[in-house]
Amino acid sequence: MRLTLRVWRQKNADAEGAMSTYEVDGISSDMSFLEMLDTLNEELILKGEDPVAFDHDCREGICGACSLVINGDAHGPERTTTCQLHMRSFKDGDTIDIEPWRASAFPVIKDLVVDRSAFDRIIQAGGYITAPTGSAPEAHATPVPKPDADFAFEHAECIGCGACVAACPNGAAMLFTSAKVNHLNVLPQGAPERETRVLDMVAQMDEEGFGGCTLTGECATACPKGIPLVSITSMNKEWLRATRRVAKR
């Protein structure tokens, strides 16, 4: 395949960015999208040009590092991560636009690489269960009903890639935050910190400059792991419950 790529190039956080156009040829439909970019970069290096910077690591769809907006869609046309998107989703002669995550809470570092440390700070605010090493009771001491365990798992699948934020017209991080709140709040082990967890994480989310949620649902459509939109509703319920209970104390 022969393709025309229009790629966002930005030297560093302070520089102005712009789209640059490149041609690539000899692209196999079995290549992953990132292997296609590897091909471009090998050519750029040999020409003495700066290769396109992008985040990637496991290339198995689980680490959450890769983060490209492809033709306007976070992670491109398939419901998967960019690393698991294959060139068979494109046609010979296509022009493909490649941009970084666009959100004020995710500033660009270089080209297609953005700073997602805001997500780490949301987890630090309460996305954990306090259980210092060594203090754990026997694992079977607390059975967890299978539906609750499955609900927890479904939300724990979030890979923290940030596609939800990139897809949201408001740049909101509600889906990311709700995934962790729901994972931990449904479990008996998470119950003691149930209220503080949701209140603190939501407060941190607001502080990081993410937008407000208007339930457009773009986040859940873009999520490569299928975290459902109703996750946000569950978190809102948790938040209201926590606000009432804390007010009563």
């Binding site: 987890i123 060594g134 082990q189």
Partner: protein
């Protein structure tokens, strides 16, 4: 003197493992280890490099104990370390199934699975700790698979006959890592861990014979800085990416362990690499990495190839009696669940015979037709759905209808920095945990044991043993950036990067990585020979010489520069590859993942030579391209007596 003219130095001994019954040694060591008063712990700084299962759990636990932890990862977030990609599960001797499991059986299985090249006292401790790990992870909210009664589910894995593997669908590594990451996040928020993401360790600082810090590069600004501590813990993972194509993450690398080796830490059993039998075959030269399909698939999938050579019919058209379910045929009692090294080699053998399937004949079938008929599609989907989806996405084939094609790929490295029972390297104050050390898996790791070892080291072993070191060295002189040793290490690092940037040749870092990787796969991969290894040993220095003449790295060192990062990692692969080949050459026996064609039984199984090679080989660095010194640690088997492994 050529590289292969190594000399054998003084034997190396694990001086910290106490004597006495194996099941009392860990208690005894913990009791004899000195403690640091809780009030004094905050005066100690510990550097932890890496945030995978081992590093993440160690950083969190040391911080909980009151130490000041300074932690590093090259990723943009500690949550992305490659432990996250582990799929299948984690072993623990809970015996919840009442199927005859015990700590002793897990210990026995691991020593036997490692083909009698691991240290008994370490492996026993690992088996003991395994049960605590499950408790710890459940308390953190790790969503393990559960039965309808609300209790934990388990499954079986290769190389064992009990069901002791706890799992979270096909994402066990992800869930365990997020547990450790969340515990670490709590300590970062509390100010007990100073976290440096997007920062890569480039060298070790050793002052007066003790590890006192590291030199690291901020990958965003390019700034090279020194960081100081009372002890340094390397949790930087394995070195499988030497092979270019592996199941490791693209940026996983050997720089931290190799630079530590150059500063005096012995490197043990570098030739012990694991080739995983169930990976998706490569599709072409563009391939950047290989994807693993969890070994758990072998629970229900049946592996076969056509009986006839060159049979090109689609799999569904090949009748039952013309298929060779070769693992079930050769190993009737373990069948498709033989250990990884055996399954991989068997796949290679049938492909070498010309019976491989798919492009280039480099694949075998993993067939779920029987399982779907027996359990129903729904049950197969519930158990393996995400793996089937991943397979379909990559290959564009539907594994519910057509058998999967699989082929072995480099997956894990059992070798690593030599450590004693306390997980301390030969450099005092430098510890290595998780895949970065060589300690527990001998010549072959059993499935679902990497997660167990990473978390055992990080949550339970290191936090106990590092106390002893810090208690015995309470008042070390302060090291600052002005110290001549620090100045020297900083200058060396800067010079190396400057050199990479200044050559301005005509080959990319990736082209060299690919070249050395292909060489290693051919001569130091699934089957090794004296002649092949010698050929590789001749070729590697030539590639190295060419590298420094022709490498091209665009841009500068004072910016985000992924080509520079890559080139610097390739520098270290080009040295480590040589040591791996030498180790493989010197070990003229077959054991576990190390198969020397000259040493096999009449029916083609690995033939160990215990009289000559029942030792761990710990290599001491003497200079780039110069023959290293071999130090042997004799392995004593008091409880599990070496026999030829039989899975027939």
């Amino acid at each position: 003197m050529t590289y292969t003219d190594y000399v054998t130095g003084a034997p190396v001994a694990d001086t910290k493992a106490p004597a006495g019954p194996v099941n009392e040694r860990w208690d005894k060591r913990r009791f004899e280890a000195k403690l640091v008063n809780p009030a004094n712990r905050r005066k100690h700084t510990v550097i932890v490099v890496g945030t995978g299962l081992a590093g993440g759990s160690a950083g969190a636990t040391l911080a909980e104990q009151g130490y000041h932890v300074v932690q590093f990862c090259y990723q943009d977030s500690p949550r992305r370390a490659h432990s996250i990609a582990a799929q299948g599960g984690i072993n623990a001797a809970k015996n919840y199934r009442n199927d005859g499991d015990s700590v002793h059986r897990l210990f026995y299985d691991t020593v036997k699975g490692g083909d009698f090249r691991a240290r008994e006292s370490n492996v026993h401790r690992l088996a003991q700790i395994s049960v605590e790990i499950i408790d710890q992870c459940v308390a953190q909210g790790v969503p393990f698979a559960r039965e309808y009664g609300g209790l934990l589910d388990t499954r079986s894995f290769g190389g064992v006959q009990v069901s002791r593997t706890f799992y979270a669908r096909g994402q066990t590594g992800q869930q365990l890592l997020l547990g450790a990451y969340q515990a670490l996040s709590r300590q970062i928020a509390a100010g007990n861990v100073e976290m440096h993401p997007r920062t890569e360790m480039l060298d070790l600082i050793v002052v007066d014979g003790r590890a006192r810090g590291i030199v690291a590069r901020d990958l965003v600004t390019g700034k090279i800085s020194s960081y100081f501590a009372d002890a340094v813990v390397l949790a930087s993972g394995g070195y499988g990416n030497v092979f270019y194509l592996s199941t490791n993450a693209m940026n996983s690398n050997a720089t931290a362990v190799w630079r530590a080796h150059r500063r005096g830490a012995y490197f043990a059993n570098p030739c012990f690499t694991q080739i995983h039998p169930t990976c998706i075959p490569r599709t072409g030269d563009h391939q950047s990495k290989l994807t693993l399909m969890s070994e758990s698939l072998r629970n229900d999938g049946r592996i076969w190839v056509p009986k006839a050579k060159g049979d090109t019919r689609p799999p569904n058209e090949i009748p039952e009696d013309e298929r060779d379910y070769y693992l079930e045929r050769i190993y009737p009692s373990f069948g498709n669940l033989v250990p990884r090294d055996i399954a991989s080699r068997a796949a290679k053998n049938v492909c070498d015979e010309g019976r491989g399937v798919g492009p280039g004949g480099q694949g075998v079938y993993l067939d779920f037709a029987d399982a779907i008929e027996r359990m129903g599609r729904g049950a197969v989907e519930a158990k393996y759905g995400n793996l089937f989806d991943m397979y379909q996405r990559i290959t564009d084939e539907d594994p519910y209808r057509v058998p999967m094609r699989i082929y072995p790929a480099v997956h894990y490295t059992m070798g690593g920095l030599w450590v004693d029972y306390d997980l301390q390297t030969t450099v005092p104050g430098l510890f290595a945990i998780g895949e970065a050390n060589f300690s527990d898996h001998g010549a072959n790791r059993l499935g679902a044991s990497a997660l167990m070892q990473g978390l055992a080291d990080g949550y339970f072993v290191l936090p106990a043993t590092i106390n002893d070191y810090l208690a015995r060295n309470p008042h070390q002189d302060e090291v600052t950036g002005e110290h001549p040793v620090v100045q020297e290490v900083l200058a060396e690092t800067q010079d190396r990067l400057n050199l990479l940037l200044s050559v301005d040749g005509d080959r990319t870092p990736d082209s060299f990585h690919r070249e050395v990787g292909e060489l290693m796969w051919e001569f130091c991969g699934m089957a090794r020979t004296d002649a092949g290894l010698r050929k590789a040993l001749e070729r590697i220095p030539e590639i190295r010489e060419e590298f420094w003449r022709r490498i091209k790295v665009p841009g500068t060192g004072e910016e985000f520069n992924q080509s520079l990062e890559k080139a610097n990692r390739v520098v270290d692969y080009l040295e480590l590859a040589e040591l791996m080949c030498l180790d493989a050459l010197h070990r003229a026996e077959s054991c576990g993942g190390h198969f020397r064609e000259e040493s096999q039984t009449p029916d083609g199984e690995a033939a160990r030579r215990d009289d000559e090679f029942a030792y761990a080989a710990a290599w001491e660095f003497t200079g780039t391209g110069q023959a290293p010194t071999l130090h042997k640690e004799d392995l004593v088997f008091e409880y599990v007596h070496p026999t030829q492994r039989s899975y027939a």
